[in-house]
């Protein structure tokens, strides 16, 4: 979720009781107790870290009060800024001994509130562990500290003709450690996979201070695949201190086909037709007319504004491979009813075609005071029906929604446009978003394709998973962290929370406390 600055006023509408509920806690301490606790924990941390690595004054804590989910703000008890793996371990041992919650944070760009602080917890920033430890061109690997920025990896690998494939839209700023926590995606997942497919191994610390190594430079290791479990675990299981990633050869060439469609359903069907024809494009993205109309004035990408939807399909590889695949894609799209097609003839043109897609979020911010970005995934065949359903929801909630999709993966990013200053609009946007996610689950999909659950989608988890399944998630959590100190209240909703959410459902449009935002 990304909401522009104007909507921050919403966060102040939270009562602290509601906020406590959102963060999965019961009551809250008095200011006096909090001060005592802060002094106690700060003193303990300063035994193991230099004084300047422990932040405790309000003005020092303020920059950490939220991540990319800026409507959700919470000051942490303290911020710890360790510089080495051993210092991270000392912080964890201290917190474990004092039973203080720990929220690990990378660059704080996450969109689901995974790094929202805990009011009585330590915010553990891994930003100072930001070294590229090794680029091994022969092995095509990079060994990284968690605070290394995603894009920096590809920059460091570029002289060897290699790059790191996952490219989340925040790649300039987001960190590898955060990518591992969220199992981040990007626009090239269909062909090159998610973070999971590109991480070979990690080193990390449990809350008990045990250093564990999972995976590594060999391709398989005995035992259960704990690496798979830790990737995407949103900081609930292990604090990652080192990541070994796979680098791949940069393709010699990439070209993109831009196709227009007179009907969104035809565009959706064309996506399925490309896959059915045995083609796996490097990128396969879709934008509806509301999205192209919004972005075109700003980026001048040359989008066909008369089209109800456009598709961008990219082929990459050797020049021969690209030529062959582009011809195939063209053929399939023509049969699928494309009304016009343009193929990029230069790298500049290719980037121009992509520029609108990559700027869709900022463009939404220009045409609307606020927007709410969703992240569900559905089977591709349901793209058409989903778009029709979103149209109905627009009418029902009296809000506009722009649609940009990672169509190849069936991953949707509907951008619900609203004005937070207009009474009732945020509540309608929130309900609109929850309805989209519920429909994703009904259509055989998931509530989050790449942004994570965090706090934002914790209620929607009740829709996707049964009590028994969520219970098993808590069992997994307990196996790693018996006291529940790592990022408590995130990712997995409690039984009580789901029961309450279920009750809200029964009332449909007439929610209790409609003035309160729900995520």
């Amino acid at each position: 979720m990304r909401i522009s600055l104007r909507s921050l006023s919403i966060s102040f509408a939270h009562s602290s009781k509601e906020k406590a509920k959102l963060l999965g806690r019961g009551g809250y301490r008095s200011r006096y107790d909090e001060g005592m606790r802060q002094a106690e924990v700060a003193a303990a941390l300063r035994q193991v870290l230099p004084t300047e690595c422990v932040l405790s004054r309000d003005e020092e804590l303020r920059p950490y009060e939220c991540d990319g989910l800026s409507v959700m703000r919470q000051m942490p008890l303290l911020v710890a800024l360790p510089r080495t793996e051993d210092e991270v371990r000392q912080v964890l041992l201290t917190c474990r001994r004092l039973e203080v919650p720990v929220v690990a944070r990378g660059a704080g760009t996450g969109l689901s509130g995974g790094a929202t602080p805990h009011e009585s917890g330590v915010l553990l920033s891994l930003a100072r562990l930001n070294q590229i430890l090794e680029i091994n061109p022969k092995a095509r690997t990079a060994r990284l500290q968690p605070g290394v920025r995603n894009l920096k990896v590809s920059e460091a690998a570029a002289p060897h003709g290699l790059y790191y494939a996952p490219d989340p839209s925040s790649q300039i700023a987001c960190s590898i450690g955060g990518n591992v926590a969220e199992n981040s995606g990007g626009v090239h997942c269909l062909k090159y996979g998610l973070t999971f497919h590109n991480v070979l191994g990690i080193r990390g610390l449990t809350i008990d201070g045990d250093l564990i190594e999972l995976g590594g430079a060999a391709l398989d290791y005995p035992g259960l695949d704990l690496l798979a479990l830790v990737i995407g675990s949103e900081g609930l299981l292990v604090v990652v201190t080192e990541v070994l990633v796979k680098l791949i050869p940069r393709p010699q060439l990439a070209r993109v086909v831009m196709a227009s469609f007179g009907d969104v359903c035809h565009a959706g069907d064309a996506v399925a037709a490309i896959i059915a024809a045995g083609i796996i494009p490097a990128g396969l993205e879709m934008m509806d007319r509301k999205a192209t109309v919004a972005v075109e004035p700003f980026v001048k990408a040359g989008y066909d504004l008369s089209a109800e939807a456009i598709l961008l399909a990219e082929a990459d590889g050797t020049p021969e491979e690209v030529e062959e695949q582009i011809a195939e894609i063209e053929g399939v799209l023509k049969t699928a009813g494309a009304t016009a097609m343009v193929i990029s003839n230069s790298e500049a043109e290719r980037l121009r075609f992509w520029s609108g897609r990559k700027n869709a979020f900022p463009a939404a911010g220009r045409v609307s005071p606020d927007y709410y970005c969703m992240d569900g995934t559905i089977p591709r065949k349901n793209l058409g029906p989903m778009l029709k359903a979103i149209e109905d929801m627009e009418a029902r909630h009296a809000l506009k929604c722009m649609n940009v999709f990672h169509a190849g993966d069936g991953n949707l990013h509907p951008l619900i446009l609203f004005d937070a200053n207009s009474p009732g609009e945020w509540e309608r946007a929130d309900r609109f978003g929850a309805e989209i996610l519920e429909l994703c689950v009904q259509l055989g999909g998931t509530i989050t394709g790449e942004h994570g659950v965090g706090i934002e989608k914790i209620n929607s988890m009740c829709v996707q998973f049964s009590d028994a399944e969520r219970d098993m998630f808590f069992n997994v959590k307990a196996a790693f962290d018996a006291l529940g100190l790592l990022n408590p209240g995130k990712a997995i909703p409690t039984l009580a929370r789901c029961a309450e959410y279920g009750k809200m459902h029964v009332h449909g449009g007439a929610l209790p406390h409609a003035e309160l935002p729900r995520f």
Binding site: P137, K138, A139, G161, G185, C189, L190, L194, H197, T206, I212, G216, A217, A218, L219, D220, Y221, P222, G223, L224, D225, L226, A228, L229, G232, S233, L237, P249, A272, I275, A276, G278, G317, T318, E320, E321, E323, Q325, T377, P379, K381, H406, G410, G444, T446, T448, G449, G452, V453, Q464, F465, S466, A468, E469, M472, F473, N475, V476, A479, I492
Partner: protein, 369 residues
């Protein structure tokens, strides 16, 4: 769900619940093609999962197949072949017809793994019948899904110790348009160097192996790309029948080295130079897997020298990898390479949570677990 599948699942559930209540361990088994694989499991009552079978859902344009655990791999591969698709991790069959449940639970992959990915990379979702007989669904049928912990991938390769995997959803891929195999005569060291060098270039590699002085390289992809790569790499073109026989021999363990009664599998970084061990290996996965038939160097002796075992483990560990006693007498510290103590402790706690009475495949993945 068909009535027979319903009944088969109900029966499996009943058996699991009974085992849990009586605290009587069960051994989950499909076609039994991998009975030799894993630790020497504790004696347990056999539970054959094959009655619960059939493809549940397959839509070629979604690139996903969902099947019940007892479905045979041949049935799945035949359905995929009709739409020119396949399981790109090339699951080994060991010369018979495994079930997809067994393929998933073992998590083994064939020669294409190095370039296309392993079984774990193609997992989209799985359904688990837990010790209490509850049905738990993790993951799903879509490509991108980050809701909840990734338990479906945890189950892949778990050898059934966490519960009965009843249904699996796997990502499938279109078959490559063209495929070509090249042969090069060169020593192991040079082959490993070349595999790594080529891996860093934009080439459509899909397998690279070495045995007895010959490197084998397979190219797969767009017709034009395969042709261009072949011209660039040189080597001797192998006719398609010979190529198929060769890669199938590696995939399904039909190669004489892989049939040896005493066999070690070393998983090491692919850049690892030839290891200091007394026999010559068969190298697969572009250098990342080294098979040693009888590590003592005496290929005729079925029993490896006991003193060589700590050595082979130490050699693998020094290279950053692990050594698995694939076939032959079980070493004192088990077939699988020992885990770090802290990691073993995590295994123990996960096992306790998933299977509190220890009824599922006890001892199969880790002795005593």
């Amino acid at each position: 769900m068909s009535n027979s599948a319903d009944a088969a699942l109900a029966d499996l559930r009943e058996r699991v619940i009974a085992a849990h209540q009586r605290r009587r361990p069960i051994r989950l088994r499909g076609a039994g093609t991998k009975d030799f694989y894993g630790e020497d499991a504790t004696e347990a009552e056999l539970l054959d999962v094959r009655p619960y079978c059939g493809i549940v859902d397959y839509e070629p344009s979604e690139l996903v197949i969902t099947a019940r655990c007892g479905t045979s791999l041949s049935e799945i591969e035949a359905a995929l072949a009709q739409h020119d698709q396949f399981l790109a991790f090339e699951p080994p069959t060991f010369g018979a017809d495994p079930t997809i449940g067994g393929v998933f639970a073992a998590g083994l992959s064939g020669p294409r793994r190095m370039y296309a990915g392993a079984a774990r990379d193609f997992v989209l979702g799985a359904t688990l019948l837990d010790a209490q007989g509850k049905t738990l669904r993790f993951g799903g049928q879509v490509m991108k899904n980050v809701a909840g912990f990734d338990v479906s991938r945890l189950l892949c390769g778990s050898l059934g110790i966490l519960g009965l995997i009843t249904d699996v959803s796997l990502k499938v891929l279109p078959r490559p348009r063209a495929e070509e195999t090249l042969r090069f005569e060169m020593p192991a060291r040079e082959a490993i160097d070349n595999f790594n060098r080529w891996g860093g270039q934009s080439l459509p590699l899909s397998a690279a192996a070495w045995c007895a002085g010959v490197a084998w390289v397979r190219l797969s992809g767009a017709t034009a790309a395969v042709r261009a790569a072949q011209e660039r790499l040189g080597g001797e073109r192998v006719d398609s029948a010979t190529a198929t026989t060769w890669w199938n021999a590696l995939r399904h363990s039909a190669h004489p080295v892989l049939k040896s009664p005493s066999l070690w599998r070393l998983s090491v970084p692919d850049t690892t130079p030839p290891l200091d061990l007394p026999s010559e290996p068969l190298i697969d996965w572009g250098g990342a897997v080294r098979w040693y038939a009888d590590a003592t160097g005496d290929m005729t002796t079925p029993t490896p020298d006991a003193a060589a075992i700590p050595n082979i483990r130490a050699v693998a560990a020094a290279a950053g990898g692990t050594a698995l006693c694939w076939r032959g007498p079980t070493p004192a510290n088990g077939r699988f390479h020992p885990l770090q103590p802290a990691v073993t402790a995590l295994h123990r706690r996960l096992k306790d949570r998933f299977d509190p009475h220890g009824i599922f495949n006890p001892g199969r993945l880790i002795a005593g677990l």
